[in-house]
Subunit: 141 residues, 4 copies
């Protein structure tokens, strides 16, 4: 039997809170998705003004980051024609997302979930995703 | 009427065994999928620690290799913008996988199945897929 | 943070072994799928002679049983026209399976995974799925 | 290693020929699909006037009959609310078809493929599918 740790609802709220604060600060309403370590959705918030396409994309970013234990921008870097990783962006019907903005959430070296942001530029999405994680880890202590 | 040969369950276990041994050796827990010559799943193992995204990707690699009778890394090489092969990675809803790590399994020049590995880098996946085939062919004699 | 228990590869093998023994006993080659508590595949075996359609159906039964923490035949009972449960069999593109043959696997009252059998009648599938669980629990002690 | 027999292109043409003759006789232009024993398409003909929806349905009927080694109308009989088989009609995204008109094609007791007809009533589809098989077996001798 394996024993694994995963985000609970309270953790998910902290992650969203941190991401939302940063999104407010930069003035870009976002879709924010939190998944557990298996990639299943725990919480989701579409800030007023968040994009409709981002409802799906934020979830796919969070899923990818948690389920593959890798940031989506890291896949993006390697997913260039001629690289053996190229093509992974169409896996799972395109659910495996290589657009920047999905980060695994780790506690004590173990991936316990994922966060995905979408509606801004990938750089904005990444900054907000990281802000969510920073807030979560700070409050958790 | 056509007569074709295909992997049976015992063959599939040998393929998995060889791949798993190599995965253990390089310290990367993998998802390992074996399909028959028509691309249908015969056996699957997610080693403890294998990635969730790899559950699908390993199967798609094995499917592609067997059903197209071509290693996924060979498709990858040609699947670059400007090549007429480009775009094949989105076929079948992305199930046709061009990420390295899927190999056809041949016996006496005939493709009898496919093996797909996922969770490491493509190079690691390819090495373990080949190790599965080597083990299978050695034991078979 | 939540802490959850889930089947590992060794557990999955025991479940498959018990199910396969019963399938051999009744003379019906089966597809056998084992998933973890989140519904993700851990191990799969298509016995020689198992049906191609059962490759998917066995996995979907196991997924449903684990992810909904309910036997597929229990959904089946309630999934009749006029019942408010009716229609659940089309959820998730039909992946939510209400055909008998999928059972949650529980240890000390906690669902730690699921087993799905397909290729026989639902009754045969259910008997083999239960045999897998019995074998697993007996060996585990 | 397993050795299996499957329809070749010549066999497929005989099956289509027999089905088409019957469709002409009853005055209903049909879609006719022939798959191999693994459920993969070998030949397809949309008679002038065949329905567009039937392009998919004929293929799904043939697939189901071959891959599950069972006539689609036999599934239909059992796929009634309250039966443990109910719900199987949504499996594989609905590709598992329980509408009458799909028959496995057997030679010497072994399923070597499937035939699926669509565009008429299920009874008409079934009659034409059977006519295809009769023609095939007669010519084969």
């Amino acid at each position: 039997m394996l024993t694994v740790n995963r985000l609970d609802q309270q953790d998910a709220r902290l992650l969203i809170e941190g991401a939302r604060q940063k999104a407010d600060e930069i003035g870009v309403p976002m879709c924010i998705a939190i998944v557990d370590e298996s990639g299943n959705l725990v919480a989701f918030e579409r800030m007023d003004g968040g994009k409709i396409t981002s409802v799906t994309i934020a979830q796919d970013k969070a899923f990818t980051a948690a389920a593959a234990r890798k940031a989506t921008h890291e896949y993006n870097e390697k997913c260039v024609p001629g690289s053996l990783v190229f093509g992974i962006h169409t896996a799972m019907g395109g659910r495996l997302c290589v657009v920047g903005g999905g980060l695994p959430v780790s506690v004590e070296g173990e991936v316990v979930g994922g966060i995905g942001l979408s509606s801004g530029t990938p750089d904005q999405d990444m900054v907000c995703a990281q802000a969510g994680i920073d807030h979560f880890l700070t409050i958790r202590g």
